[in-house]
């Protein structure tokens, strides 16, 4: 944090403290509500903004926290101080329990699970009268006291302020930590996150737990602030308001929840003369924000200021070849009798191969031959029906995708799978950990210098020359390929599996990829290449495996395979090549169905169609 920002934060805090010192009871209550909405918003932001999961039932966690404090302080006379942490813990446990069904579902299914959870908790609070007082609620929840000094509303407002600042601070720490990056990685591409060794389940559960703890804690304070809680304090609509807090401010924006809370809490108070139209305004406001400022107010503001951070360049370059050599354990990747079927179609049929360390083993074949399926089997995205896949001596056949990546099998994709909303540098940084996040790093400062240098060196190694601080999704196609390659190398792989790395690249860039792959093999990495570009395959491969309809039809050095009659047949059919060449002029008497003149088209920098007449 630089000095100017620290001064600004300090000034705002002093201003708020001055206000609290002079505020009346009503104003103090509003201050507390804004603070609590901010804390909930911060928690929800971890779930919605960072990890990309929706919850339409967060009022339930708020309720759980509130009832823990309400019941324990009134019935058992526990102190607020002991019950508050407990509120967070119990809500967190509920969050983990909810995560179990929630993790198995996505999108609208997840929305449904959280809605149902919200209803179960709300109705449960209403019906379990012995514990919760039913619709009558819990009355007389005390304010805390400290060393015999009873808190008034004013001290309570200060306390909420402290917790609000703390929650924002923790969010900033989490955001910069490996865990924050991992959550964003899972959000942007679950598949790619697995192939750098991240366990999406663990990361999603963590996000749920953190989110629930923050919300439950805030609920606990709410109970103490309001003195009275009942099921009516936590309706379904409250969950929508919490979502509104995050969305108005801007998902995954540090200050988003604060801005959102100010709007959501203050607006109805300012418009209190229109009290009955409150919900109408809330609905219209939500629609407007979603339409006009999809990044929320904070997102809009940062976009207007347009301070594009380009990412400080580290001074020292690391020796990438040494880094890769240290990781490549010289293990081969072999498959025996590998088969898998999808609905009666044998996509891969009794396949055996052995990819040796330091070699480039290419898998080629016509469209639909099962090449990508083989990669997916190798990397644990599909389970084979039978057969064994070995990494060195170890059997990795039925391991989860992220475990296989942790064992050192890296992967790139036919259509690039980058973490599109993360910066180029972060894409590589998170991969450097190879899934080992460590429990201690959850709120740790990011910015490990050694990692930063390594990541930049890797990007330079693959030939990436673009900006490091740009979101990866905004890159041109060639750069996306390069960043994905750098990310795959960052996990220090033993095996590098590439799915059509040259697709959409022009010949010059393709040649550069070829050179790079040769360089990579010198570190002892086993390279498995699926590719359609025959020039690339023939020039870089040590061995070529040809698949047709899921079965291996030829294997050997490139030159030998290219001359194999079976291979020619698979690619070109039974006819002699000359028969296939049709060169009929358009018959003059007929009208052309489609005629073009000088049609050009292309993807990014590559021109695909030139002068078609």
């Amino acid at each position: 944090m630089n000095l100017r920002r620290a001064l600004a934060v300090g000034a705002v805090l002093v201003g708020v403290c001055m206000f609290i010192l002079r505020a009346n009871g009503y104003e103090l209550y509003i201050v507390a509500l804004v603070g609590l909405a901010t804390i909930v918003g911060v928690g929800l932001n971890v779930l919605l903004g960072m990890s990309g999961q929706i919850s339409l039932g967060h009022a339930a966690f708020y309720a759980i926290g509130a009832y823990v404090v309400g019941i324990l302080t009134t019935k058992l006379d526990w102190s607020v101080w002991t019950t508050l942490p407990l509120a967070g813990v119990i809500a967190g446990v509920a969050g983990v329990l909810l995560a179990i069904p929630a993790l198995r579902v996505r999108g609208p299914y997840l929305a449904m699970v959280t809605i149902a959870f919200g209803f179960v908790v709300e109705q449960g609070a209403a019906e379990w009268e012995g514990l919760t007082g039913g619709w009558n609620g819990v009355l007389g929840i005390p304010l805390p006291n400290l060393f015999g000094f009873d808190f008034s509303e004013r001290e309570m407002a200060f306390l909420v302020l402290c917790f609000t600042v703390l929650s924002l601070y923790l969010y900033a720490r989490l955001s910069a930590s490996p865990w924050g990056k991992a959550m964003r990685a899972v959000r942007d591409s679950e598949i790619a996150s697995q192939s750098i060794g991240l366990d999406p389940t663990l990361i999603r559960v963590t996000a749920f737990a953190i989110s629930a703890i923050a919300t439950g804690f805030a609920g606990g304070i709410f109970a103490s602030v309001t003195n009275f809680i009942s099921p009516e304090s936590f309706p379904f609509f409250q969950s929508i308001l919490f979502l509104l807090v995050v969305m108005i401010g801007g998902a995954d924006q540090l200050l988003g929840p604060l801005v959102g809370a100010l709007v959501v809490v203050l607006l109805p108070e300012i418009l209190s003369f229109l009290a009955q139209y409150r919900l109408l305004f809330v609905g219209l406001l939500l629609l407007l924000v979603l339409r006009l400022a999809p990044g929320g107010f904070v997102g809009l503001a940062t976009e207007l200021i347009k301070q594009r951070k380009l990412g400080a360049t580290a001074t020292r370059r690391r020796d990438v070849m040494a880094y890769l050599s240290a990781g490549s354990t010289g293990r081969s990747l072999s498959a025996s009798d590998l088969s898998v079927s999808f609905g009666g179609v044998r996509a891969v049929d009794d396949l055996c191969f052995d990819a040796r360390p330091g070699d480039i083993t290419s898998i080629i074949g016509p469209n639909g031959a099962g090449k990508s399926t083989v990669l997916n089997l190798m990397c644990g995205f599909y389970r084979p029906d039978n057969g064994i896949i070995r990494l060195g001596e170890a059997d990795v056949t039925r391991m989860a995708a992220h475990s296989i990546a942790q064992q050192g099998v890296a992967r790139t994709y036919q259509t690039t799978q980058l973490f599109t909303n993360m910066t180029v540098l972060d894409n590589v940084l998170i991969a450097l950990r190879r899934g080992r996040l460590g429990a201690g790093t959850i709120f740790s400062r990011g910015g490990d210098l050694e990692h930063q240098e390594l990541a930049e060196s890797l990007l330079a190694f693959v030939g990436y020359r673009g900006p490091l601080g740009q979101p990866a999704g905004a890159l041109p196609h060639v750069d996306k390929r390069l960043v994905e390659l750098a990310r795959a190398l960052a996990i220090q792989p033993s095996v590098l599996a590439l799915d059509e790395p040259a697709a959409g690249l022009d010949p010059a860039d393709t040649a550069r990829i070829g050179d790079l792959l040769r360089k990579v093999t010198r570190t002892g990495i086993t390279v498995v290449l699926v590719e359609h570009d025959m020039n690339l395959v023939m020039s870089v491969s040590d061995r070529v495996i040809v698949l047709d309809a899921g079965a291996k039809i030829a294997e050997g050095p490139p030159a030998q395979v290219a001359a194999d009659p079976h291979v020619l047949k698979a690619y070109l059919g039974d006819e002699k090549p000359s028969d296939r060449r049709r060169k009929r002029e358009l018959e003059p008497g007929r009208e052309a169905v489609i005629s073009t003149e000088g049609l050009c088209s292309g993807y990014d920098a590559v021109s695909v169609i030139r002068d078609i007449n």
């Binding site: 069904p101 149902a116 339409r291």
Partner: protein
């Protein structure tokens, strides 16, 4: 065995018989009302299914469309004194228009920029409609005046059933069947299905995808309107009547596996009957807790719904 013992046994048997009979009555009347309500959940859920199938989006304002149907029908028929048929047709037509409005204002703008904020946007639009109705129609719940279908009833095996209660499941299943036929036999239905399969290919075949998506939202609004008008005589009409009903219908759509039309309808019947049985046997207090807990449990066991199929993810 003495006489008194015999008498005691007889009394016990009689008591057991009566209670079994009562339970059977309870269960069968629960079955009937459950099937009726369930088929309405199913109808509303079919609306979720159609829009999801065509555009992979879900209209969370469905509950409000159902409420709109009931409110409009009541207003036209009772307040404006229109003939019932006209009131129903006008109400349903406006529900379809509402569905199209939801698509244009709260779904299309977000889908076009690849955002999934349509979820919250449709929720917001539902809230807006609910409140607009609140200020125009009024807060107080009103009952549909008694009509032909509610005053007349038949007696089956000792249970009195309103004609309406018999009609509701029939209408529900008829609509489900009509939709099925529409998709399979008619040109426009096939266009919808083509869009479901592959948006880009459908566009290349000259199908106006945007219009088809909008039509699917209009159709889902229409179905919600039907459900609203059908259940209005059983409950009271109020601006908030659609909220919980809509959520339950969404639960039904999810349980049925949102991509499967018959699955959705079947899930509606199961949900309706389960809810009615829980109310009949355990009282209404726990019905919401139990049904929503069952929803969570069902999804934990079968994440793609009871009748849905998992898709093989392509990497």
């Amino acid at each position: 065995m003495t006489a008194s013992e015999k008498g005691g046994l007889g009394a016990a048997l009689l008591f057991a018989g009566i209670s079994v009979f009562c339970a059977a009555m309870l269960v069968s009347s629960a079955l009937i009302s459950g099937l009726g309500l369930g088929s309405m959940y199913g109808l509303l859920a079919l609306g979720f299914h159609i829009t999801h199938a065509v555009s992979s989006t879900v209209n969370f304002a469905q509950g409000s469309a159902m409420m709109l149907g009931a409110v409009l029908c009541f207003t036209f028929w009772v307040t404006f004194q229109w003939p019932l048929t006209l009131a129903v047709i006008a109400g349903l037509g406006l529900c379809a228009v509402w569905g199209a409005i939801v698509e244009r204002t709260a779904v299309r703008p977000f889908v076009q920029r690849g955002s999934n904020a349509w979820l919250m946007a449709t929720v917001a639009l539902g809230i807006v409609l609910e409140n607009v109705v609140l200020f125009t129609f009024g807060k107080d719940p009103r009952g549909m005046p008694a009509g032909l279908l509610t005053t007349n009833s038949v007696e089956v095996a000792g249970i009195r059933i309103q004609l309406l209660q018999l009609l509701i499941p029939v209408v529900g299943l008829l609509f489900a069947a009509a939709i099925r036929i529409f998709f399979q036999r008619f040109h426009y239905g096939k266009a919808l299905l083509a869009v479901v399969q592959n948006k880009d290919a459908a566009r290349l075949m000259g199908i106006d995808v945007e219009r088809v998506v909008m039509a699917s939202f209009a159709l889902s609004g229409f179905l919600a309107g039907v459900a609203g008008i059908m259940v209005a005589p059983l409950f009271t009409i109020s601006p908030t009547m659609g909220t919980l009903f809509g959520i339950k219908a969404f639960a039904v759509a999810i349980l049925g596996g949102i991509g499967n039309a018959w699955g959705v309808m079947l899930a509606g019947l199961i949900y309706g009957v389960a809810e009615a049985l829980i109310i009949a046997l355990a009282g209404s207090t726990y019905s919401q807790i139990a049904t929503f807990a069952l929803v969570i449990l069902a999804l934990a066991i079968r994440p793609t719904g009871l009748f849905g199929h998992a898709e093989v993810k392509k990497v």
